[in-house]
């Protein structure tokens, strides 16, 4: 008797070995894809969108690459997912996490073929991950107490993060910028208040951090181009035709004179509003919504600078920077908090005119102006800077740091190896495999830099046999060196997140012994 089909027509089912194979292969393929971008000498990828215009992105950022891929393999999707989470949570290490997970699975595959049950592998991996984390915890450095040292730590972390990106040529310049910006935040992790403005033209070196605030807007015609000791009212209100909001109201007139009258009343209303705004005693008015010609003219008459159509975030930031509140009604001028700044002026960057607020009351926010040859360069520069800023802001909260350049991996591998020797039972194979996967990261970094990875890693391992060794791979000189001397630092939080989420993802994929794919949903023909 033939077994009836259980599933629907297009659904498929893969079992046991085959299922495991499919997910291993998918995950490893994804890991191999981003592998070549790892490390300071990693290569970039070009992503071309299938959408209109076939826009092109050039990037080195793992999360960005994976986000743009259309993947069908379910296991590969798990990896894409973890890299996205890594991006959201700590901002950097998006490539490392995928590569580590891929390596863990590659090792697991070998173990599975030598007849070790996946559950045993998982148990071993868990023990190893725990041990690796402890090993890192033992070696972390914390310079929170010493402000000067802490700052230099941050500088080093920023430089390490940036050295694998397009900004590596000017990493010192950018690291300085990022650290300055982060210190202005004073411990808050809200990166929203750091504004990044991209202006094509000039070179990357011309990028700068501005203490004040830059708004990508023009000043209205006939209004003052420069205001000292500005009092700013930040508003979110309609300055076009202030509609009557009571539902169902509409204007119905029967003669031309009436139209004129109503129009007059409307104008009067606007004028009232402008007068109320002016009653705040301001000389600068920034609105989120449009400002029509008529009120703009009124503002110009009163010598007030009126800026229209600032986007929502711009308004929020401006509120933060100048210490003003975002107002929508203007009846009680005495109780509205106004924003202050020393100087508002129009500045030119390249060919564009921007409005620059300097000498602001609360220095929480700041602007970074990026200059570069093309949009692609600028986009990539923004992503790199964002990574650096994320890492720094997380480090400010959790100030523990580690050395970089494959040092943490080697430290972990050593401890894990130690554990493998002590553990009885089949689990020890898995623990050993974990340490091999860890070593794969410095190997990849060296490979990407065109160095003799086997030689370097062996050398590194020998160095690490000594207690308290600071050796890592210095890709620039192509040799093993003291990481502390070269100032290659990484944030503990990033490493920990890489370790834990990679293990979690590998575990998840290992646990699967069957893949059931539902029939794809039929799209209605839109003909």
């Amino acid at each position: 008797m033939p077994i009836d089909k259980i599933f629907k027509d297009d659904a498929s089912e893969e079992k046991g070995e085959r299922a495991r194979m499919a997910s291993f292969i998918g995950a490893m393929a994804v890991a191999d894809l981003v592998k070549s971008t790892l490390g300071p000498k990693g290569m970039d990828k070009i992503l071309q969108s299938t959408g209109r215009g076939h826009s092109v992105t050039v990037t080195n950022d793992g999360a960005t690459i994976l986000k743009s891929l259309h993947i069908d393999n379910p296991a590969a999707k798990v990896l894409v997912d973890i890299s996205k989470v890594q991006d959201d949570e700590v901002g950097d290490g998006t490539t490392s996490v995928v590569v580590l997970a891929g390596e863990l699975l590659r090792e697991a595959e070998k173990l599975v073929t030598s007849k070790i049950h996946p559950m045993t592998i998982i148990a071993g991996y868990r023990m190893a991950a725990e041990c690796a984390r402890d090993a890192l915890l033992k070696r972390v450095m914390d310079n929170k107490e010493n402000a000067e040292k802490f700052r230099s730590d941050l500088m080093k972390i920023a430089m390490t993060t940036l050295c694998s990106k397009i900004l590596s040529q000017d990493k010192e310049h950018f690291a300085e910028m990022a650290v300055d910006a982060i210190f202005r935040l004073k411990g808050s992790t809200n990166l929203e208040s750091i504004q990044i403005i991209k202006k094509p033209g000039g070179s990357l070196r011309d990028s700068f951090l501005d203490e004040g605030f830059i708004l990508d807007k023009k000043i209205g015609i006939g209004q003052p181009k420069r205001i000292e000791n500005a009092k700013i009212l930040v508003a979110n209100t309609a300055m076009d035709t202030d509609k009557v909001k009571i539902y169902g109201a509409r204007v119905r007139v029967d003669s031309m004179t009436k139209v004129a009258e109503i129009e007059g009343a409307e104008k009067e209303k606007m004028k009232d509003k402008v007068n109320k705004i002016l009653a705040h005693g301001i000389n600068c008015f920034v609105n989120r919504q449009l400002i029509y010609n008529f009120p703009e003219e009124l503002f110009a008459d009163a010598g007030v600078l009126a800026i229209e159509h600032a986007d929502f975030e711009g308004i929020e930031r401006l509120g933060l920077v100048t210490g003003g509140e975002i107002a929508s009604t203007f009846d009680n001028p005495e109780s509205v908090k106004l924003g202050h700044c020393k100087l508002i002026e129009e500045i030119m960057i390249g060919e564009d005119k921007l409005i620059h607020f300097s000498g602001v009351a609360m220095g929480q926010a700041c602007s970074i102006v990026l200059r570069g040859a093309s949009h692609h360069v600028l986009d990539e520069a923004e992503r790199s800077l964002h990574d650096a800023l994320c890492v720094l802001s997380q480090t400010v909260n959790d100030s523990r740091v580690l050395l970089g350049g494959g040092w943490p991996e080697m430290v972990m591998a050593k401890e894990v190896d130690e554990l493998a020797r002590k553990t009885a039972g089949k689990k020890s194979h898995a623990i050993e495999a974990f340490s091999r996967a860890l070593v794969a990261i410095p190997t990849t970094i060296a490979d990407n830099a065109g160095l003799d990875s086997a030689e370097l890693v062996a050398q590194l391992r020998a160095e690490h046999h000594n207690e308290g060794c600071n050796a890592g791979i210095d890709v620039i000189s192509g040799a093993v060196g003291d990481m502390e001397e070269r100032g290659i630092y990484e944030a503990f939080k990033v490493k920990q997140a890489v370790l834990l989420s990679a293990t979690e993802a590998a575990e998840m994929i290992l646990r699967v012994d069957e893949i059931i794919t539902c029939a794809p949903r039929r799209r209605e023909d839109r003909m």
């Binding site: 008797m1 077994i3 009836d4 089909k5 259980i6 599933f7 629907k8 659904a11 997910s23 379910p74 798990v78 997912d81 989470v85 959201d88 949570e89 700590v90 996946p118 559950m119 045993t120 868990r126 992790t189 209100t237 009557v244 909001k245 009571i246 539902y247 169902g248 109201a249 509409r250 204007v251 119905r252 009436k258 109503i262 007059g264 009343a265 209303k269 509120g319 509140e325 975002i326 107002a327 929508s328 009604t329 009846d331 994320c390 802001s393 997380q394 834990l500 989420s501 979690e504 993802a505 998840m508 646990r511 699967v512 012994d513 069957e514 893949i515 059931i516 539902c518 029939a519 949903r521």
Partner: protein, 535 residues
């Protein structure tokens, strides 16, 4: 062929368009059905137990689910076969009724079907098999009742509850931190439980997840978590001793339902309307302020002006809060949901000791914690995890754990897990079988054998020798006459489930046996399958 001819040689038409249908009859029908049922059970068999594997399911839209929960796997499978659908239903009803043991019930049913097939080959009539199964299931349930132990706990001593929840969680991917999750689940259930009536309303426990962080960061909040932030970026982020006005009316001018028109035809009218509008906003905010509210939670949006007025009067507000959340907030804070500003009174305000906004990670995600509520009968379990799938799976695991804790509060009898209950039932049923004269005896024995398949699957999944292990445990149970011996899945070194603290609820186990028997009976009774053939 179901064709008959009358005296004029015309066929009686019994089935319309007969040749387009496939038809299976008699023993063939039963065999086909059994094969389908077994196929479903086979899929789940490897997910059973603490060392069970997961299934990866790709949905119709390409979304991936990884799960170990029987009900979830079956639900997401695109099943087409009628009998297979019955099995899906079976696991779903176990899920609704008990919430746990959804895999076990399907494996059990599969084993019963497999045994039935053997009896059919012997030529025993399906109805006799069904009857035998029925009798056997009664014996098993009674036996369970007998060996069940009362299990004492109270609000202060909830350790036993935690142990039981840990048994449930140990088969899930979250078993890394089963201890803390089990504690969270038990505390959550105890917080909302009505110990007098022995009932728990699980609706009061909200399970919220957010991607990021570690599983260890999962926490229980005695209050409500709302995935929203304050409507104005400059409102205070923390309010102590909040008096909450819960509104379902927008901070907007009224929109009467009846059709109406306000015609503006003179300047005066324009002016009055404008004044009124301003006044309206002012009044709304004033009313909230007058009754003493320090926080406004609104189901709808606010107008920019209203938003600023609220900010101006120092009245923080949250907008676009969903209906379900609004209800939970009302329950927790002891407030009333107010549909009109006119009806706001101080008594209708909810009270909470602390409301604060918390941001996560590098993205601009913020959530609102409402804690120390006046009536703390609503709690939230807030799950963090590495990725979306992890969180979804954790949600399902927590749901299972919550259900188990609830079942224990309803009925505090337990049996021992790890296959111990199945083994002792199998022994009892086997012994009882000999007392029945007639053919049913064979069916009863078959039932006993089917019961063995659960511990067998457990042993198999844990990498033990299934037959060897099972027979060892069985003989140990008989020799010492103690029903606590089960399969040592975690390689601890003892078979004593009491020592390993592996419990299951009595009602859960009974339900499993009863439901599985019922479905198998139903499948056995089918002797004719008529289906539209492919076209």
């Amino acid at each position: 062929m179901a064709l008959a001819f009358d005296e004029f040689g015309r066929p009686f038409i019994i089935l319309r368009e007969q040749d387009q249908k496939t038809r299976l009859r008699g023993i063939d029908a039963q065999k086909a059905n059994i094969a389908a049922g077994k196929a479903v059970a086979r899929i789940l068999r490897s997910s059973l137990g603490p060392k069970g594997m997961d299934k990866m399911l790709q949905g119709p839209d390409g979304d991936v689910t990884i799960s170990n929960d029987g009900a979830t796997i079956l639900e997401q499978m695109d099943v087409d076969n009628q009998i297979a659908k019955l099995m899906v239903e079976l696991s779903r009803s176990q899920d609704y009724e008990i919430g746990d043991g959804t895999t076990g019930v399907v494996v059990m049913a599969g084993a019963l079907l497999e045994q039935a097939e053997r009896q059919l080959d012997r030529g025993i009539h399906p109805i006799r098999i069904a009857e035998g199964y029925e009798t056997a299931s009664r014996v098993a349930v009674e036996h369970l009742e007998r060996i069940a132990q009362k299990f004492e706990f109270d609000v202060n001593n909830y350790e036993p509850l935690v142990q039981t929840c840990m048994t449930t969680l140990s088969s899930k991917i979250v078993n890394r931190c089963k201890r803390s999750l089990a504690e969270i689940a038990v505390k959550a259930v105890l917080a909302v439980a009505d110990l007098e009536r022995r009932d728990v309303n699980l609706d009061l426990i909200k399970v919220e997840g957010k991607v990021g962080g570690k599983l260890e960061d999962t926490e229980l909040i005695y209050g409500i978590l709302v995935d929203k932030d304050m409507s104005h970026p400059q409102m205070p982020k923390q309010i102590e001793d909040a008096h909450i006005a819960i509104l379902t009316c927008p901070f907007e001018p009224p929109k009467p339902k009846t059709k109406h028109k306000v015609d503006i035809d003179t300047v005066e009218k324009f002016e009055t309307l404008r004044k009124q509008e301003q006044q309206y906003f002012d009044e709304m905010v004033q009313k909230c302020k007058d009754v003493g509210a320090t926080l406004v939670i609104c189901q709808w949006g606010f107008d920019d002006e209203a938003n600023h007025l609220l900010m101006h009067r120092n009245l923080p507000a949250v907008r676009w809060v969903g209906g379900v959340e609004l209800e939970l907030i009302a329950i927790a804070t002891g407030g009333r949901i107010v549909p009109r500003f006119q009806e706001l009174t101080p008594e209708k305000l909810g009270k909470a000791g602390m409301v604060r906004e918390k941001s996560f990670g590098t993205t601009k995600e913020r959530m609102l914690y409402i804690e120390h509520c006046a009536n703390s009968k609503a709690v939230t379990i807030f799950i963090r995890g590495g990725n979306k799938m992890m969180i979804e799976e954790t949600k399902r695991s927590i749901h299972d754990a919550l259900c188990v804790a609830r079942n224990l509060i309803r009925n505090n009898s337990i049996v021992y897990g790890g296959g111990a209950a199945e083994i002792t039932c199998s022994l009892a049923v086997d012994a009882a079988g000999d007392k029945y004269p007639g053919v049913e005896q064979y069916a009863i024995r078959a039932f006993a054998e089917a019961l063995d398949s659960v511990p067998m699957a457990l042993a198999e999944n844990s990498g033990l020798q299934p037959i060897e292990t099972l027979s060892a445990v069985k003989s140990q149970q008989i020799k010492e006459n103690i029903p606590f011996y089960g399969i040592d899945c975690n390689d601890v070194g003892t078979n004593d489930m009491r020592e390993q603290n592996v419990f299951e609820t009595l009602i859960g186990k009974q339900q499993q046996i009863l439901l599985a028997t019922q479905v198998v009976k139903m499948i056995l009774k089918i002797d004719d399958v008529i289906s539209n053939s492919e076209y």
